[in-house]
Subunit: 313 residues, 2 copies
Amino acid sequence: MRFEVTVLGSCAAAPKVDRHHSAHVLNVREQFFLIDCGEGTQQQMMRAGISPLKLSAVFITHLHGDHCFGLFPLLSTLSLLGRRTPLKLFAPQPMQELLEGFDRYFNRESPFEIDYTPVDTRLHSLIHQTRTLEVYSIPLRHSIPSCGYLFREKQPPLNIRKSCIDRYGLGIAQIAAAKRGEAVRLHTGEVVPNEELTYRPFAPRSYAYCTDTHYSAKAAGLAKGADLLFHEATFADEERAAARQTGHSTASEAARFALRAEAGRLLIGHTSNRYKDPYLLERQARAIFPQTDLAVEGRTYSVAPKFNPEKGM
Amino acid sequence: MRFEVTVLGSCAAAPKVDRHHSAHVLNVREQFFLIDCGEGTQQQMMRAGISPLKLSAVFITHLHGDHCFGLFPLLSTLSLLGRRTPLKLFAPQPMQELLEGFDRYFNRESPFEIDYTPVDTRLHSLIHQTRTLEVYSIPLRHSIPSCGYLFREKQPPLNIRKSCIDRYGLGIAQIAAAKRGEAVRLHTGEVVPNEELTYRPFAPRSYAYCTDTHYSAKAAGLAKGADLLFHEATFADEERAAARQTGHSTASEAARFALRAEAGRLLIGHTSNRYKDPYLLERQARAIFPQTDLAVEGRTYSVAPKFNPEKGM
């Protein structure tokens, strides 16, 4: 039941020896999603012990190099490793044109398909789903088209309360009906409402990834209720003008976003290298939103399962 | 008087946590040249303490991703750092088209020019020179157009033997004539041959970089006399068939190249990750060419100045 984010890279502008460009891996019950792919992402994945062969989809927020220059090297390595499973790729245009250039010059003999879906960064829409997960785009406000992504578990199917099976002497057809959400008529003629017979085993968890962007109240509304929220904080509060000018956010703006989104926990990152003490930004954000952590490369941030306490009833 | 090569990356195929794709920096008396630029080169430069701002030219051997995917990230960082000096770039086509795509989508506001010269990999020609250095292309044999590069110091200007100035009572005009290579007529009418008056203070040094390639006797002839030779050895001798099939060389082939080129010292690299003991390749090459070292990432290999012992005469 894992739902966890590993931060592979979280630095803005020029990288450093120990700071890498943007990339997160989200593991939802052993489904692996890569979000952004700065230079060196494949080596950062190795350091984190995550095989790139496990990736089922890649999501790119916007086409600035620090968010996507690691993509073609990663795809090349997947070719070398003999991947055969298609890889889904979600990114704004002109990714199509870049992919065509990549295929033409660097990837002529790839054994797997890249299943590319262009993302319209102006729209909040369901762009991808698996059996257990939905992914939505979140329009952001940056110097070029940019969007965040919201990953949310689907409502789990209804479970039957075992205690009810004995109490009402339910048969297989009645159990199946209850699991479909129906009320059940007993052989006595009594009708038992569905809510009495079933429960949701756990509440869906969600992760919102919002970078690069100005503060956007609208985006905060779309990330509503995220258990874990990553929001960029390129600048400290003192550089608010620079943040505005470059289409980025300050630490306090990230915190205000989290507050408005009613997030469970805030991770801030994409911080400028200018801060000798990057925990300054954490302190500034915590003054507004106490459940804030500075994203640390190589570290994994988990959202615990939210099991339904009614299960035992 | 430095003439030294720092190996930033030397692995073939998929990178590892501690092995990077091809990139060497050649420092010739504080002129810095980057040769190949695999993913992560900019961070490897930082690790080696070499500022990318110091680079005066970049040479790419061929357009396989493991030799050039670090180029656009590096150029982006140079833009961010505010470089203004034009950067020379030598690479085979279709680099022009790749650069245009890069400029269009990722590099619209760069403060410096990229001065690109296409390299015809079929030709051995002088492609670049500075006041003190010449760079030649060396055609190689790979699965796509590929060339090596030979960096050679120019002959230094003639120095006057100080002892002769007193002995013959030379004036400024006579000294200048001798430095131009002329014989000098003394006031006694005696003519002193130039060789007696002057000497070359040192012999030119050279570095040849040959990857990716089959063994090529012709290329060895063009790298003749290189003080330091880097030659790829992707495979051990046991994988000769694989080397042939993929357009690469074995350790022994690299050594035979060095022998034929009469190189001073051989560095082998671009070794496959399949070898748990990569020094196996060094041992195989040393059996043929004893002055062989396996290129180690982060290590610097120097060529000492070859001062002319006649100076003291």
